[in-house]
């Protein structure tokens, strides 16, 4: 996920680096305050009421509320952008998991089923409708987007997009029995010609 190859993964990776920097700063601040308490100079003077204002109202309540409000706002904004919203360019595909393989179907090529390899056009948003035939699985192609579960009787939709043609590794990421480790798949992103050829059922 630290090496994104699509917009969704990139947004999340950027979010991570920002949170890491912010979290690191907060950690350093708290540790500094903690260690300063052990200064030789002895107890810091100050009335009880003032102390409570500083430590509890200021640092305990005010500080986290401010930071969290900022974080939440940006998280909501990011989350909003990752949603599968209707758009003209969107390609629809289906993914069905079972112990332990993946089968994929294509709205633009009805009847076409591939096993273990999901074909998508590069540079276009793709909505993957995910479900399962047996236990719970999860669809995760880390370089392209986050994950979403395949749950019996439910269909979940994940929006992903690959910038460039190529093969991207994917895996189930909800424990699903002894075959879990090998329960992977490949997302193969095609340039426009190859995608047209794939839909026309030419050998790929």
């Amino acid at each position: 996920m630290l090496d994104p190859a699509g917009p969704a993964a990139e947004t999340i990776a950027r979010l991570w680096w920002i949170m890491l920097a912010g979290g690191g700063a907060i950690f350093v601040l708290v540790m500094a305050l903690l260690l300063l308490a052990f200064r030789e100079s002895g107890a810091e003077a100050g009335a009880g009421a003032r102390r409570e204002r500083v430590w509890i109202l200021g640092l305990g309540l005010g500080f986290p509320l401010t930071v969290l409000a900022a974080l939440l706002a940006s998280a909501l904004w990011v989350g909003e952008r990752l949603l599968p919203r209707p758009a003209p360019e969107v390609v629809g595909v289906g993914a069905v998991a079972r112990q332990w393989d993946w089968r994929f179907t294509y709205d633009d090529a009805p009847g076409r089923v591939t096993r273990g390899v999901l074909h998508i056009p590069a540079g276009r948003p793709v909505d993957v409708r995910i479900t399962t035939e047996d236990v719970i699985h999860s669809f995760w192609a880390p370089r392209l987007a986050g994950k979403i579960d395949a749950i019996p009787g439910h269909v979940n939709v994940l929006r992903l997009e690959a910038w460039a043609p190529g093969d991207y590794a994917g895996a189930s990421s909800e424990y699903n029995g002894p075959g879990y480790l090998g329960h992977g798949f490949i997302v193969r992103a095609h340039d426009p010609e190859a995608w047209r050829a794939f839909l026309a059922d030419a050998p790929t």
């Binding site: 909501l76 990011v78 979403i148 979940n156």
Partner: protein, 826 residues
């Protein structure tokens, strides 16, 4: 009387039996606290060995040490043991050992219940360890998601060990929670109003109430899944109207509060130990209490953050994401209050303080990564990777194990009466503190690179290959560190020199007694006028020992404590506690018979064992009554108080109140499950509804009326000094009618047809149980009335019965109506 003579007299009354029998029959909280602590430590070692197996397997790529099946058992049992057999029982042990001492009491409110809970824990845990050794341990991960754990994909007995063993252990958590709640509210020193209570009392109270409301969803989920596995009732099977998401909701409704149930006691220890070692008082006592309470409340609104990837609608995600980040606020209040306390005082770098510093460094990181994973898009990436594994260990080890170690070193002189002499502990500290971060920082990074949790190996080209080697090496050093801690504790407990009383100069009452403590804690019960009584009056220990407090000695030759008014701490009753008895261990063995019968599918054993349990329970409560009004008892200082058994609200009444609260949350979870299936599960509505006709609803209506009116009439009669035989009979009859109404529901549905029918059976079974219990109780009370064990004063049993009767009427009528309603409307 001299201190020595008081000590001798009290010792005779309070001592456990000598020799090995003493361990089996003791009901004393100091003994049982130690037993809890010891067994929990044992499970930490077992869980730790499993962790080492995991890290050994992950040290090198393509390791041939374990295959996927064995690895699944190992990680499942590691998580399960650490959460259910180590963390929660360790809290129980700390609370059982410490609470009465901190609160200035001689024991907990229900000594036999403590023992019963302990033995349920010991037996239930043994079931799981047996499964582990026999190679048939649970293997679905510690949160056991169906359908993977359902009858189709996990036909073996492995999963049953988890569902049945853990539920058995859960009984001990519920017992301890009732115990702690009533003790904190009612069994404090005279004059200890709530705002003078040691801060640990507040934390224990919040934690106990959270156990009472947090565990029922899990218990319900386990029951439903076991019913599905054993009898094909399709709660989690989508084709028959079930939904596997229901399990996730029930599990995390428990699972998230569980995290705070683990963290809050540790925070209570920090709040207790840190000010003493900083030679000052806690900054912002009121704020900290408020923070603990709001953490407890908030944590019930967060469970969905464990389900961010299950396809929850965006609005729901936003709400739970916001709520999840918000819990950081009360946590921050506590953290900064503690740091402020350090600034206020003159902190000393003793060993417990080192562990506290390590707690800060680790827990703050765990909290920060916690806020990160509360951000939904980020969670979509790291969910189910080793990033989460690292996060949860930062929280659990940093936020629980480290403060517990601080507490261990702080109270070790209390437990052993010795001073620490061998300094292995310092070396152990540095090994653990450094290697923990080496291990789990590497695990974070491996997760970010894409290593999924619960994968049993990886290839040499995987980006996380080297990081795993680093983590494994770190974890072996970590294990050596923990082993040294154990060694340190052992040598210092066994061969170090005797120490002084109150070595840290603390202000709380547990240090007002000689150490190791005598079974009775206090030779007399002190009057408390301050939050730190020992600082207010350094001579207090001597005056307690000389018998200058209340209930000095054991003049009446029985175990006595005081019950106080909840808010003010004014003494109101004398509670006579039971002495040594094998009843608790026998009853938990019989309870084990029920669970064993379910596990081995030898169903004839179940009703048989249940009958034995019921018989023992009757004997249990029978012992609490007396044959005549005792009248007011002198407790010293000219004060005379009634016996609890001469009162309308003996401890048993309070215990029933909280147990009913637990029962109601279980019932609420059941209704939630029903509504959830109805609205979310795909294959609803069911093909047909149950049509009740008019007879069964009439039966239920009459039954509930009869029972509720009967018990009120019984109370009135008794108050006027008359024996309420007929009204009690009405209660029995009313409960019988409720049971009969519930049976018609079972007769009208087929349990495995559809989730609707399965829910109908569970609601009906629930009604039968909850109406059956007061039905049986009313017979016992009737017998007590006939034997003249009731009077206007000794009316406690009738008041207790009223609680259970009203509860039965409510849950039966609501539950049955919930099943009948669709039939009435169509």
């Amino acid at each position: 009387m001299s201190a020595i003579r008081l000590h001798k007299a009290l010792g005779r009354v309070w001592a456990s039996e000598p020799g090995w029998r003493g361990w089996l029959t003791t009901v004393n909280h100091t003994d049982l606290g130690r037993m809890f602590l010891f067994v929990a430590a044992l499970y930490f070692v077992i869980g730790g060995i499993l962790a080492m197996l995991i890290r050994a397997q992950l040290a090198s790529p393509r390791s041939a040490f374990m295959g996927p099946e064995v690895y699944a058992q190992v990680f499942t049992m590691h998580g399960t043991i650490m959460m259910f057999l180590f963390a929660i029982p360790l809290f129980e042990g700390v609370a059982v050992y410490l609470l009465p001492k901190l609160l200035g009491s001689r024991d907990l409110a229900f000594p036999r219940l403590t023992a019963y809970g302990f033995w349920c824990y010991a037996f239930g845990g043994a079931m799981l360890i047996f499964a582990l050794l026999a190679g048939i341990a649970p293997d679905g991960g510690w949160f056991m998601y169906p359908p993977l754990t359902g009858p189709i994909y996990a036909p073996g007995i492995n999963t049953d060990f988890w569902l049945i063993g853990i539920t058995f252990v859960e009984i001990s958590a519920i017992c301890a929670a009732v115990e702690i709640t009533v003790t904190v509210l009612r069994c404090r020193a005279p004059g200890m109003s709530l705002d003078r209570m040691p801060i640990f009392g507040w934390y224990a109270l919040v934690t106990a109430v959270m156990i009472l409301t947090g565990f029922p969803p899990l218990i319900l989920g386990s029951i439903l899944l076991e019913l599905e596995r054993a009898f094909g009732m399709p709660f989690f099977q989508v084709a028959e109207g079930g939904d596997s998401l229901l399990w996730q909701h029930l599990f995390w409704l428990f699972g998230h509060p569980e995290v705070y149930i683990i963290f809050l006691p540790a925070a209570g220890i920090v709040s207790t130990v840190l000010p003493v070692l900083a030679r000052t008082t806690l900054l912002g006592y009121g704020w900290i209490v408020a923070a603990a309470v709001s953490l407890g409340v908030l944590s019930f609104g967060l469970w969905v953050h464990h389900m961010f990837t299950t396809g929850i609608p965006h609005m729901g995600l936003a709400f739970f994401s916001a709520a999840s980040t918000l819990v950081a606020v009360p946590t921050a209040v506590q953290i900064f209050a503690w740091i402020g306390t350090l600034w206020k005082g003159r902190p000393a770098l003793r060993l417990p303080m080192l562990w506290l510093l390590s707690f800060f460094a680790t827990f703050v990181i765990g909290g920060l990564t916690g806020v990160m994973v509360a951000v939904v898009p980020f969670d979509w990436q790291v969910h189910d990777t080793h990033f989460i594994v690292a996060h949860l260990h930062y929280v659990l080890v940093g936020g629980f194990v480290f403060p517990m170690l601080a507490g261990l070193y702080y109270w070790l002189p209390h437990l052993t009466g010795r001073r620490r002499f061998f300094r292995i502990g310092e070396i152990a500290f540095w090994l653990v503190a450094v290697s923990f971060h080496v291990t789990f920082l590497a695990v974070h990074w491996a997760g970010l690179l894409g290593q999924r949790r619960r994968t049993f190996t990886f290839g040499p080209d995987d980006a996380w290959s080297l990081l795993n080697l680093v983590a494994s090496i770190g974890s072996f050093v970590l294990a050596i560190g923990f082993a040294l801690v154990i060694l340190d504790v052992l040598v210092n407990a066994l061969i170090a020199a005797r120490g002084t009383r109150n070595p840290w100069g603390a202000g709380t009452l547990e240090w007002a007694m000689p150490t190791p403590p005598a079974a009775y804690n206090f030779a007399s019960l002190p009057e408390v006028a301050d939050r730190d009584p020992l600082w207010a009056d350094p001579d207090l220990p001597v005056r307690i020992a000389r018998g200058e407090g209340y209930l000095a000695g054991a003049e009446r030759g029985r175990r006595e404590i005081l019950a106080v008014d909840v808010a003010s701490g004014r003494p109101v009753q004398v509670v006579v506690l039971p002495g040594n008895t094998a009843l608790p261990i026998a009853m938990s063995a019989a309870t084990g018979g029920i669970f064993l019968g379910l596990l081995l599918k030898t169903y004839w054993l179940v009703p048989l064992a249940a009958l034995v349990v019921a018989a023992m329970a009757i004997r249990w409560v029978w012992c609490l009554g007396t044959d005549a009004d005792a009248g007011p008892q002198a407790v010293g200082h000219g004060l005379r108080l009634p016996l609890a058994s001469d009162s309308a609200d003996p401890p048993g009444w309070w215990g029933s109140l909280f147990l009913i609260g637990t029962s109601l949350t279980l019932f609420g979870s059941l209704l939630f499950g029903y509504a959830f299936l109805w609205t979310v599960a795909p294959n609803w509505p069911p093909p047909s509804y149950l049509h009740s006709g008019w007879a069964s609803p009439a039966l239920a209506g009459i039954g509930s009326l009869l029972a509720c009116l009967g018990i009120r009439l019984a109370q009135r009669r008794l108050r006027r000094g008359r024996l309420p035989l007929v009204p009690l009979g009405a209660v029995t009859a009313g409960c019988g009618a409720l049971v009969a109404a519930a049976v018609t529901v079972m007769a009208g549905t087929s349990h495995d047809a559809h989730a609707y029918d399965a829910v109908a059976w569970v609601l009906a079974g629930h009604a039968i149980l909850h109406a059956g219990v007061p039905g049986l109780m009313s017979l016992v009370v009737l017998a007590a009335a006939l034997r003249a064990r009731l009077s206007a004063a000794r009316s406690g049993p009738v008041h207790v019965l009223r609680l259970w009767t009203d509860h039965a009427a409510a849950v039966t009528v609501i539950g049955l109506v919930a099943i009948w309603l669709p039939g009435w409307l169509t």
